[in-house]
């Protein structure tokens, strides 16, 4: 690695690699003898493979193998019962359309791609259903409890309230679509030694999954994932296609690279599940909430169950004595979903925060005032105080910055020509997690510090944040510190998910730095040096080239005494065109309340990115299926609309930036999820304020606005 020069200590530590093209992502390791895998996928939605003709493909130039259920190498973990991942090449059953059924491996990508087109399959077909709405409505369809029912006080208290609303909210399937395509390079060597270059949010998790499937020791498996081109949740598990790549390498004794196509990103690596939610709210005429009911149906697959925290927020976000929730998952014949940024909480927040706005309107109250009036002092669900919560301050800052005083409570009041202006607000909240991680610190006599942990950076700036924590504690300039990650041989850390990395790994960085400092102080004392001596002098005096130590850090009993959350408030100003129904987001203000801000530049970017994702969720993103065939019909970037540059207005980000006194030594909480949670509701609420039209079915496309009365 070349020397990094940081013009500003807040710049990303890996920025130089990313802007020069030197950052290497999984597919960019040129292993000698590398071969290329290309997948063949099912063309039916449900049934069984009857014949698979691979002869022509095998004869095609450059082809080394065609792998399928007919000839796969042994994966002993797949031979056992239990677990329900799609056991790739260990079944002839088809569970969804586009399921991988074979992999062609050739000596070039083009040859593998061509040969894959020569594989022919025949099937016996079965009846299927990919329509989630239909499955939910079908009384006979299978339905499973996704989370235990929750009840506090009187069930469905809203029904007898002075003022009540009851509404249904729909979310479509969304697809993560990180810019980097998924895949893996697998290099299986004799004696069951395996090296993989992966796209993963957790190198240790990937290592563990591979060890389980192939029944080889963890130590035999090295997972490298230094740079990850985005994940947003889809790289939180090891997918069947990765196992297939390893199988191919094991079979051939050569390194195999698989890179999915963009189309395959819709069917092989998860999605945000569709959801149908009903919210009932009851309030007194003075605006006191008296009942919250949140009932949710979430999509899952028939072969593997997926659940998430859709109904969590309703249980504690507002002061209310009567709350009940129910979360049911309903299988359809599609690939299994996975958490997508904000995960279930973002799904739930769209419904709840839209409903809160609807209730404020029913009460003829300012929705901000209504929220402040029902802001809880304690967490009623856990019956605990919040460790740190500054929502009222966040409301005040955000309202001032967006120009909330310009807003009229009566919808459709601000009209300029064909454009109607509206303002919306919503809240986001996510559990401030902290897990267990280890970090090794190596303090060198040349004045540098190396920190190592098997964590990941899918984009938030893990290395930058960790470096800033260490820099401040050790008083070492940021460009003299290197943080190594993305390698399973480093000290263990959990996967990067659930907004926990800064809190979890940062605490271990803190602890190892504190330990290194005390070691230096001891060494100084031994050498009769002043306790405050510079570590370089101390190491030299002791004839030590370096000192190193590893510390494990985890949360303690404080989590039993306090309820810990990160919060965000999103303010959105929109303009809606009267004739066309086009929504233009005019201005965004997001305020983060997530403890101390460690890395101001990357933290701001994370909030900006969440808002951009939120614009997509609110206005453009929907994975559309033709239910006659069970196939996605917009599985590409031309038809699945993620926001582009011109969709995004000015975004202002503000932070409360006060330490949470209990969460961890830094007082810092995660913000990857809260950046997006609730955002789509702020847009929906702004559209309502602009037009008087309430769209409860995402995305809010012009046709829905025009059709709404």
């Amino acid at each position: 690695m070349e020397k990094r020069i940081l013009k500003d200590e807040n710049d990303r530590v890996d920025g130089i690699f990313k802007v020069t093209g030197k950052a290497k992502y999984f597919a960019e390791y040129a292993l000698p003898g590398l071969t290329y895998g290309v997948l063949v996928t099912s063309t039916i939605t449900k049934g069984k493979i009857t014949t698979l003709n691979t002869k022509a493909a095998e004869k095609a130039p450059g082809v080394m193998a065609v792998l399928s259920h007919l000839n796969k190498p042994s994966a002993p973990g797949y031979e056992q019962d239990g677990g329900s991942p799609l056991k790739i090449f260990y079944t002839d059953k088809i569970f969804y359309n586009g399921q991988p059924i074979a992999m062609v491996v050739a000596n070039t990508f083009e040859r593998a791609t061509y040969a894959a087109s020569l594989v022919e399959a025949t099937y016996t077909k079965e009846q299927f259903n990919t329509d989630f709405d239909k499955a939910v409505a079908d009384a006979k369809a299978k339905k499973l409890q996704g989370q235990p029912d929750y009840k506090r006080g009187v069930e469905d208290a809203y029904k007898t309230a002075e003022v009540k609303i009851e509404e249904k909210y729909h979310l479509p399937i969304e697809t993560h679509n990180p810019m980097e395509l998924h895949g893996m390079i697998a290099d299986w060597r004799p004696n069951n030694q395996l090296t993989v270059y992966a796209k993963t949010q957790g190198v240790k998790a990937t290592q563990g999954t591979i060890a389980n499937v192939f029944k080889i020791p963890n130590e035999n498996i090295r997972v490298n994932s230094e740079f990850v081109g985005g994940g947003f949740g889809m790289a939180l598990r090891t997918w069947p296609v990765e196992i297939a790549t390893i199988m191919a390498s094991k079979y051939l004794g050569k390194p195999v690279k698989l890179m999915l196509t963009r189309m395959q990103m819709f069917t092989m690596v998860g999605n945000r599940p569709a959801a149908i939610q009903t919210i009932g709210l009851g309030a007194k005429k003075d605006g006191t909430l008296t009942g919250i009911t949140h009932l949710a149906f979430g999509e899952t697959s028939v072969y593997e169950n997926f659940t998430e925290g859709v109904v969590n927020m309703a249980k504690f976000m507002y002061q209310c004595d009567n709350v009940n929730t129910q979360y049911t998952v309903v299988p359809v014949d599609l690939g299994v979903p996975i958490w997508m940024r904000g995960p279930g909480e973002a799904t739930g927040a769209f419904a709840l925060e839209s409903a809160i706005d609807e209730m404020a309107h029913a009460l003829d109250m300012d929705p901000l005032e209504f929220r402040i009036k029902n802001d809880p002092e304690r967490d009623q669900q856990r019956n605990l105080p919040f460790s740190d919560k500054n929502i009222k301050e966040a409301y005040r800052i955000g309202a001032q910055k967006i120009g909330w005083n310009e807003r009229k409570n009566k919808p459709g009041s601000l009209i300029e020509g064909q454009w109607k202006t509206g303002y919306g607000v919503s809240i986001g909240v996510f559990n401030a997690n902290r897990g267990r991680a280890s970090v090794k610190g190596i303090l060198k006599a040349d004045g540098s510090l190396v920190l190592q942990s098997a964590t990941s950076d899918i984009g938030p700036g893990t290395g930058t944040g960790m470096t800033l924590i260490a820099s401040k504690l050790m008083n070492i300039p940021a460009d003299r510190i290197t943080f190594e990650l993305g390698d399973s041989s480093l000290p263990p850390a959990p996967s990067q998910g659930g907004s926990a990395t800064l809190s979890t790994v940062g605490s271990a960085v803190n602890d190892v730095c504190v330990a290194l400092k005390s070691t230096i102080a001891e060494l100084a004392a031994n050498a009769n040096m002043d306790a405050t001596s510079n570590f370089v002098e101390v190491l030299k005096k002791n004839n030590l080239p370096s000192v190193e130590m590893t510390k494990q850090s985890q949360a303690g009993k404080e989590r039993e005494a306090y309820s810990m959350y990160s919060f965000s408030i999103h303010f959105v100003k929109v303009k809606v065109h009267g004739l066309t129904g086009v929504v233009k987001v005019d201005k965004i203000v997001s305020v983060g309340d997530s403890g101390t801000i460690i890395s101001p530049k990357t933290a701001r970017s994370q909030m900006v990115g969440g808002a951009v994702g939120g614009v997509g969720m609110a206005l453009t993103e929907e994975s559309v299926i033709d239910h006659r065939y069970g196939r996605y019909i917009n599985n590409n970037f031309a038809d699945y609309h993620v926001p582009v540059n011109a969709d995004i207005p000015e975004i202002e980000v503000h932070f409360i930036n006060k330490p949470d006194p209990y969460i961890n030594p830094m007082g810092a909480k995660g913000m990857g999820e809260i950046a997006l949670i609730g955002f789509s509701a702020a847009v929906a609420n702004a559209v309502f304020n602009a037009t008087g039209k309430r769209i409860r079915n995402l995305p809010i496309t012009p046709d829905k606005i025009l059709a709404s009365t």
Binding site: K7, D8, D11, R12, D14, G15, I16, F17, K18, V19, T20, G21, K22, A23, K24, Y25, A27, E28, A30, A56, P61, T108, F109, E110, T113, Y114, S117, L118, P178, M179, E180, L181, F227, V228, G229, G230, F232, R262, G459, G461, T602, R604, S605, Q606, V608, G610, A611, V612, G613, N636, F637, A638, V642, P643, V644, N645, A646, D647, I648, I651
Partner: protein
């Protein structure tokens, strides 16, 4: 799917014919080579020989002479043959911009260009943008304004941004946004990308 890879037998028979005819021609012209080639996968080697097309191009001021299959995209050629992996693959359909390079100074989606279409052309990739260890002003501005998170779309964004400035499409933030909308950033760094371009384009000079 590449159009040249369509699943019909025409391609196969054409290929078989090529194998046979080239073998005959080769035997007639150079018996010793043909005899040598006849050992092992002879017809395979001949097919490979005749299915490749010579290509001369200049990438980052370095000349390359190669022979490539006509179906190889410029993107795959850069990444897999030249190991210039700074140019990214995001969709292979010209829909995301991650593969943006400059061909004779203009921004091009390298996934939509076959390598052989670039005979004699001058290609600049992200690896060729800096002047030695000195970053191009756009690269420096992307770092300063944090115009990226995961970094995967970044090379394409920067190549596109340089072209955007040189095209003169930087008269307002909204014009920049419009002319940068062929480059998707899923992490959502758009406002920061615009900040970087605004800074570099001040003064109105080409870069």
């Amino acid at each position: 799917m590449h159009s040249s890879d369509s699943k019909n037998n025409q391609g196969d028979s054409r290929r078989d014919f090529l194998k046979k005819s080239s073998l005959i021609t080769a035997v007639a012209l150079t018996p010793t080579i043909a005899l040598k080639a006849a050992e092992g996968q002879a017809d395979e080697r001949f097919a490979e020989l005749f299915e490749r097309i010579p290509l001369n191009l200049m990438v980052n001021n370095q000349t390359y002479q190669a022979s490539v299959e006509p179906r190889v995209t410029l993107l795959d050629y850069l990444r897999e043959e030249l190991h210039l992996t700074g140019t990214k693959k995001g969709c292979d359909h010209g829909q995301c911009g991650a593969c943006t390079v400059h061909v004779d100074g203009e921004r091009v989606n390298s996934c939509l260009s076959l390598a052989v279409m670039n005979e004699g052309k001058k290609i600049t990739t992200i690896e060729g943008l800096a002047n030695g260890n000195e970053l191009h002003p756009m690269q420096a501005a992307f770092i300063k304004h944090d115009g990226f998170q995961c970094g995967y779309c970044t090379p394409g964004q920067i190549m596109s941004a340089v072209a955007c400035v040189n095209e003169g499409h930087t008269n307002s933030r909204s014009e920049i946004s419009e002319y940068m909308s062929g480059n998707i950033c899923r992490c959502g760094a758009y406002p920061n990308i615009v900040d970087a371009i605004v800074e570099v384009s001040k003064g109105g000079n080409k870069i």
